[in-house]
Symmetry: C2
Subunit: 209 residues, 2 copies
Amino acid sequence: MTASDWAEAALAAMREGGGLNAIAIEPIATRLGATKGSFYWHFANREALVEAALARWERLRTEEVAAAVGPEPDPRARIRELYHRVTRDAARDPTELALLAHADHPRVAAVIKRVTTHRLDCLSRLFRDLGLSETEARYRGLQAYSGYLGRAHLAHSVPDLLPHGEDDRRYLDSVIDSLIGTHRPDADSGAGTDTGAGSGKGPAPGRDP
Amino acid sequence: MTASDWAEAALAAMREGGGLNAIAIEPIATRLGATKGSFYWHFANREALVEAALARWERLRTEEVAAAVGPEPDPRARIRELYHRVTRDAARDPTELALLAHADHPRVAAVIKRVTTHRLDCLSRLFRDLGLSETEARYRGLQAYSGYLGRAHLAHSVPDLLPHGEDDRRYLDSVIDSLIGTHRPDADSGAGTDTGAGSGKGPAPGRDP
DNA sequence: GTATCCCCGTACGACGGCGTACGGACATGC
DNA sequence: GCATGTCCGTACGCCGTCGTACGGGGATAC
């Protein structure tokens, strides 16, 4: 039984509901088949466990971003891929939403700030790669990230109100189109084989005579 | 001392941090200068108080939407006004964010679902008034609402990462432009003196002859 | 004056969570 | 055999909160 085991168990407890309050020593000890005696050998107090769990979460999220944003060369496809991927994961892991709700906690606030800054930087860079100006790229990055957070919330708390299946795919395309301009009908990036038309109705029908 | 007083105090407690857990009988009693004796005369148990607070919150939010969406005739300006107004309030009242984090609570889930449905309907109607198709209007409504939720979170947990003052006004204009098409450069709403160009590069230049 | 009822304060028990004290099992070194 | 150090279980005190029991003030009716 190591400190890492406790940290992972704390994260698991958060994942399964209750937010930060789910990090309670005795319930987690029971879940691990251990007792408080073990815990207080590895940690000074509950706050230390919270901190360890937060550090672990931050590391996982950072690696996740790096993995998600890495391979794809085309910036347009990168944004698309990132949005799909990240929005799918967040729906079934309420940990991030729980942390957002505890932003008044100083440790949590610090973690959120670092993770958010990192993500926004990555997003802004993606938009810069699309040719947008510095401030415009930052605006788009903020807008994209706000949309991501909101979508994660909706997916978790009122999934019925979000489109499903194919409809959701079209919706996401519509959102992404409004973020990255619109995808040029001439230089369409292959991934979506067919219904690019559905999103083609986006905000910018004009543009090419 | 009425039941309403307790419900309002419960809401106030939530406003000031701690989310649903902030609705604790004894602290609220102290804050009201009363005791549990009074509470258990008006309510059966804590759950009843939570329910009363939720009902009160739902009523307030519903009236708020009605007031915010009512007067303005031009749909474009309505969206603008709504976005500005709602985004400003949400930043300094974490109650909604706290409720989102407790979406696993059945009562909370029901309230969130009703309020969200209502808001999305209003938003979709606004976009329909702009001439969008049914599904397109619903997509835009969802996108706008997701953006609102995300922005509220960012404003509360990492306000430093959001633009401030004039910059934020430009950012919001950029977001709204990408949602409602673009604001017509001929009918520019005066406030922004100069750099309206920054958002003018939005997704849809065409549309109006 | 007193009976009644509404409203509330006080005192109590129970529970769950934190943190501490202490002892004990077990391996290791010598 | 014995000492030492690591790791953990047990038992305890403490606190905050929920819910209940009970008593009492005070207004009103008559």
